[in-house]
Structures are given as C-alpha cells and as structure tokens.
C-alpha cells in the first residue's frame, strides 16, 4: 500500500466514523443520566433533513449545523416529556421516536430528493487542507474536529466536573440524588436535550460531510450502531472513540479491499459484513470476563424516576 492510499483510506474512515461518534457520545451522556433513548436514528434523520434544507435554502453550513442541533433537541424533548414528565416506558418511546423521525424527515424532504447541495469545506486553509500529506490532519471540515473535541469534553465533564458527578449520581441512584436535593428530572432533561443536539449534528454530517443530497432514511441504521457502541464502550468516552473508529475502519476497509483487488479482497464480503458484530461479541465477552464494577451499566438505566413509590 502506498502512503497516498493509506492517507486516502484514513480520510474516508474519518468521514465514516464521525457521525457515529458524535451520535454515540450524545447517547452516552443520556445513558449515564439513567435514561435509555432509542430514538437516536430518528433524531439523526430529523437533523439530516434540517441541515439539508437550511443549506439548500440559505447556503450557510454552520447555520445548518446549529439548526440541526436545535431540531434534534426539539425531537428529544418529545421523548423527554413522555418519559420524564409522564414516566412512559423509555424503550417503547424511543422506538416510537425513531419511527416518528423517519416519517417526519421523509415528509419534510418530499420533493427535495433531486436537489444537490454542497459539502461543508475544510476548516483549515487550502495550503494545509489540500496538501497531499498534511490533509490527513488538516483536511477535514469543522464537524470532524468537533467530534474529537467532544470526546475530551464529555470525558472531562463526566470525570472531572461537579455537574458531571451529579449527572452520574442521578444515573446510578436516582433516589439518593433526589434525597440530597438534586433535581433528577431536571438533570435528565438536560442530558436528553444534549443527546438530541448531538444526534441532530450527527445527522447533519450526512448531507454536509458524506453525500451532499437528501435521501429518505439516509442514515441507514447508523443511529442504531451508535446506540450499540455505547454498550460496546461500556459507557466510557475514549473506548467509544476507539469503538466508533473500529466500526468506521471495518466498514471502509471492506470497500477498499473489494475495489482494490489486493490481498484483502480474498476475505469474503460476508465476513467483512459480520466483522463489527464479531468485534461487539468479543468486546462484550472481554468486559464480562473482567468483572470490573465500573464497567457496569448505570444502575438506573431505563427505569422511570418515581420518587413517590
């Protein structure tokens, strides 16, 4: 493999991994607060159509990202109201949110499928961004650098900040947090809103970073991969970074191997397709072998908060 090809592969892997990483980081924070939101795929689609429409109508990519985040928050608040204020079942409500987001985005996108838009350009000046070697570091749009910053931010927030400690306390033992005066519902609303914003931005990656168009269901299941990755990463941001890039790498290498005809193309397509799931099983087995208490899911994950009971 030539260095040029390796760089090209890295650039493609980064593109494929970024939306999964952003969406999964949002979901990680949500789950750490004790809420399971399975509506990631739906919120991503809402973000994708919003970003597409804003770029199509205004040409402003950054406004598109901002409004995609806002649309994700709006969608997540439906979930938040039902599950937090009305204590509806989180699993069912999350699935409903995915179905709703799929339908709503398709409705909003009616008639826009034959309209191309433009990708968000690189953040750095062209001398760096288009340099044959340095583009591997500087050739990406702001969304990619945002995703890396987000890993550190989420890690710092959960591990080092007081607010993060409260959020984890709410996720681990809601009644105790409640008894010492923290607003469990308030914290969870904030976490759900954050997850919605990140899912919206992850959705915006599709028309702005990957393929500048609108197509119904264009996220094609990556929201579900994000949900699975949170478990894969045992609720830790840096493991999540590794997991998202592992998935992105496998998905991308499959295509490069098939297109390039090199030694890797001898691996059957079915095995490539199965690899992320084999990796998931292996990681889950490794986690359970270690039996490290901190690897466990947040104790209150998926349970409604009912202090009166």
């Amino acid at each position: 493999m030539s260095p040029e090809l390796i760089i090209a592969i890295i650039v493609t892997v980064v593109g494929a991994s970024t939306p999964i990483l952003i969406a999964a980081l949002g979901e990680l924070v949500v789950e750490r607060s004790g809420v399971l939101n399975l509506g990631v795929e739906g919120m991503m689609l809402v973000g994708a159509i919003t970003a597409f429409l804003v770029v199509f109508l205004t040409g402003n990519h950054y406004l598109a990202i901002l409004l995609a985040a806002a649309a994700g928050v709006a969608a997540s608040m439906i979930f938040g109201f039902l599950t937090l204020s009305l204590s509806a079942n989180q699993t069912a409500t999350g699935l409903a949110l995915t179905i709703f987001g799929t339908g709503l985005s398709a409705l909003a996108g009616q008639g826009y499928s034959a309209r191309p838009v433009t990708l968000l350009g690189p953040l750095f000046p062209a001398e760096l961004a288009l340099h044959p070697i340095w583009r591997v570091l500087f050739g990406y749009s702001a969304l990619v650098y945002f995703s890396f910053a987000l890993v550190f931010a989420v890690w710092w927030f959960l591990k080092k900040s007081r607010a993060g400690l409260i959020l984890r306390a709410v996720g681990e033992n809601d009644l105790s947090a409640h008894s010492i005066g923290y607003s469990v519902i308030g914290v969870r609303y904030a976490a759900v809103a954050f997850g919605g914003a990140m899912a919206g931005i992850a959705g915006a990656c599709f028309p702005l970073l990957l393929t500048p168009q609108w197509a119904e269901r264009m996220t094609a299941g990556r929201g579900w991969i994000a949900v699975a990755l949170v478990v894969f990463a045992s609720w830790r941001p840096f493991r999540l970074l590794a997991g998202a890039y592992l998935f992105g790498l496998v998905m991308t290498m499959e295509l490069y191997a098939k297109a390039g005809g090199g030694p890797l193309s001898a691996i059957p397509a079915e095995l490539w397709a199965a690899m992320p799931y084999i990796a998931t099983v292996v990681v889950l087995v490794l986690i359970s072998i270690r039996r490290d208490a901190s690897n466990n899911a947040p104790a209150c994950l998926g349970k409604p908060f009912l202090p009166s009971n």
Partner: protein, 363 residues
C-alpha cells in the same frame, strides 16, 4: 400487567413492522381497475422506485377513468413483510399488483396461490404461475451503450461497478458493460463492489471513494441514488452514469450519460389486458427498441466521435443487428463460454451467475 423492557421491545418491533401503511384512494364503486404497486424504497429516490411511480402515473394518465388512482406502497422490505402487504392489497380489491423488487419473488408466488382472481406481475423475477407474470427491461442494452462510452474515455482502463447484491440482473449489467468497453479497449477491466443494500447513500459514496483512490476512473452503479456520481464529480474522475433517471443535476460534468427506466408503456399494456380480460401469465422483456429503456443526454465530457460510437451501439441493438451477448465470450478465467456467432438466450441471461473476461470477480 407490568411491562418490562423486553416485552416493550417486541411491541415496538411490531409497531415498526406496521410502518408502510397505505393511503388507499380507491373509489367506492367497483368499476375502475384497482392497481397496486409494491416498492422497496421511496418514490423520492430519483432512481429505481421513482421510475416505477412515474410509470404508475403514466398508466393512470393514459387509461383515465378505466383505472383507479394507483396504490403505491413504499419501503416494503424483501421479507415476510412483503407477503403481508401483497395480501392486504389483494384483499382490498386490487386486481393487478406489481411487485417491483427481485427479492419479492417467493412471496408473490405464495400469495398468488391464495388469490387466483388477482393478477400479479413481478419485476426482474423468474418465477411464474397461472396468475403471476414477470416483466423486466433490457437494462443490459443500456449498459452496453455506457460501456462503449467508458471504453473510449477511461484513461486508466479501469472501471468500478457499485452493485447491491450479485443477482443475475446485476451480474448481467456488469458483463454487458465490460464486454462493450473491451470492444473499444481490449485491456479494459471492471471491479464490481457489492454493498448489500439498495439504499445507503453514504456507503455508495464511500464505495466510489474507495474506487477512485485506487486508480479507477469510471464509476458505474446499479444502486438507486446519485451519491456515487457526486463523488465522481467532486474528485474530478473521468465519469459515471445516471441509473434509472437523468442525474445530471448532481454531476453536471461527471455524468457521461444515463440509463432511464420507462416502465409506463408496460403498465398501460398490462392494465389494459386485465380490463379486457386478455391478461395471461408471461415473461415480457422489452428494451431500447420498445422505449422501455432510454439513453439520456450525453454529458459535456463526451466528444462527438464517442457519441457516434455509442449511438451506433444503441441503434444496433434497436434494429437487432447487434447483441452484446453474442460470442465469442470468455469467462473471467479465460475459458470460452459462448462460441463465436452464438447468442445467449434470455433464459441464460436471466440466470447469469458467471463473469465475463475483464471482470475482476469479488471473493
């Protein structure tokens, strides 16, 4: 009853299975023929499903009050859900049902046995029965035209072909493309890349990136959207081809030409036959000659002499003087599969499971 997470997951899955609801606009009286269309994706895909919905509109426009407003059911997966949708259409008075994806085949046969008075037509299929017919379009004729253009314009002599699954329909297209290209450039090769889905634009785009990064300069695709063409345009590779519809809006420079699906004429004939009581199960396979397959406008990168060569291939297939699957044809290992002067039969084409010389076969 307490609901735990697992039971709710099941309930959610059941709700998800019920998504493709139809907006039936049928009239109260029984006079007009009710025609149903089952689509694997959305009519807004600007490709395969769009083509079928345009065909349905054309049928309604041509036949007027003789047919009801067509019922189009979108996003029906190639699985048991398809059986349910087919049955519901049959039960709700549709007397002619078009199932427009290859993987519906087994379900069409199964449901058709239970509704002997309903006519079914399965696109790109091969299984027929008393009330199940099959229809297809000779897309390979269009691919031979595209392959001719590719053979002339490619600088590296390497093309990629993004496909969904290695079914005969797709294999046939790959083969026709490279056979035509090798008539121009005997060293031309094509690499099929199967992505196991009809609609995942980001994956189609990544497949195109993987090809262009490794020296492929022509990207053809058999998937339903314009994502790959956009990458070809962005990267400045030689070109690609619109699939199902003219996609020049997405790639004004990179689209060399396009294959346009035109199902309307067949839908008119089939509906009219049911109305007249003359419908019978058969396999119809029209192509360029009948206007079922059309070649779109040529892009700005295609010079006059290449257009002339492409048009010659197109016209040769229309007047019957040329068939792309006429021997001698070797398979990808170099063994002769079709002797000189022999043309593959339609049955052999519809069950094609081997690659011709010039295809770099997937593992």
């Amino acid at each position: 009853m307490t609901l735990n997470r697992r039971t709710m997951l099941k309930a959610g899955a059941a709700a998800a299975a019920a998504i493709p609801l139809f907006g039936s606009k049928a009239f109260a009286q029984e006079e007009p023929l009710k025609v149903g269309f089952v689509l694997i994706g959305t009519v807004n895909d600007n490709g395969w499903n769009f083509g079928h919905s345009e065909g349905a509109k054309y049928m309604k426009a041509e036949l007027g009050d003789a047919v009801a407003e067509p019922t189009i059911v979108e996003n029906v997966p190639e699985g048991p859900d398809c059986e349910r949708v087919l049955r519901e259409l049959a039960q709700s008075g549709h007397k002619l049902i078009f199932a427009t994806s290859f993987g519906y085949g087994d379900y069409v046969i199964k449901v058709a046995q239970q509704f002997p008075d309903v006519r079914f037509e399965h696109a790109t299929g091969y299984q027929r029965s008393e009330n199940v017919g099959t229809y297809n379009a000779r897309f390979y004729e269009g691919r031979a035209v595209c392959g001719t253009v590719a053979g002339h314009l490619s600088q590296t002599g390497k093309a990629g072909y993004i496909g969904s699954f290695p079914i005969p329909e797709v294999v046939m297209g790959v083969n026709a493309f490279v056979l035509a290209a090798r008539k121009v450039n005997p060293d031309f090769t094509i690499t099929p890349v199967y992505i196991s889905t009809w609609n995942d634009p980001a994956r189609e785009a990544d497949a195109a990136r993987a090809m262009i990064d490794q020296g492929i300069d022509i990207v053809a695709q058999h998937t339903d959207g314009p994502a790959a063409l956009q990458v070809v345009e962005e990267r400045g590779a030689v070109g690609g081809f619109g699939q199902g519809a003219d996609m020049s809006a997405f790639a004004p420079n990179a689209q060399l030409t396009s294959i346009i699906d035109n199902w309307g004429p067949h839908y008119v004939l089939a509906a009219q036959a049911v109305i007249d009581g003359t419908w019978e199960s058969k396999d119809v396979w029209p192509g360029l000659k009948e206007g079922e397959v059309e070649i779109g406008p040529y892009g700005p990168k295609v010079p006059e002499d290449v257009i002339a060569a492409a048009e010659a291939v197109k016209n040769g297939q229309i007047d019957g003087s040329m068939h792309i699957f006429t021997g001698p044809i070797n398979d990808h290992t170099g063994t002769e599969r079709v002797a000189a002067g022999v043309t593959l039969t339609d049955a052999e084409l519809l069950s094609m499971d081997w690659y011709v010389e010039g295809v770099i076969p997937p593992a």
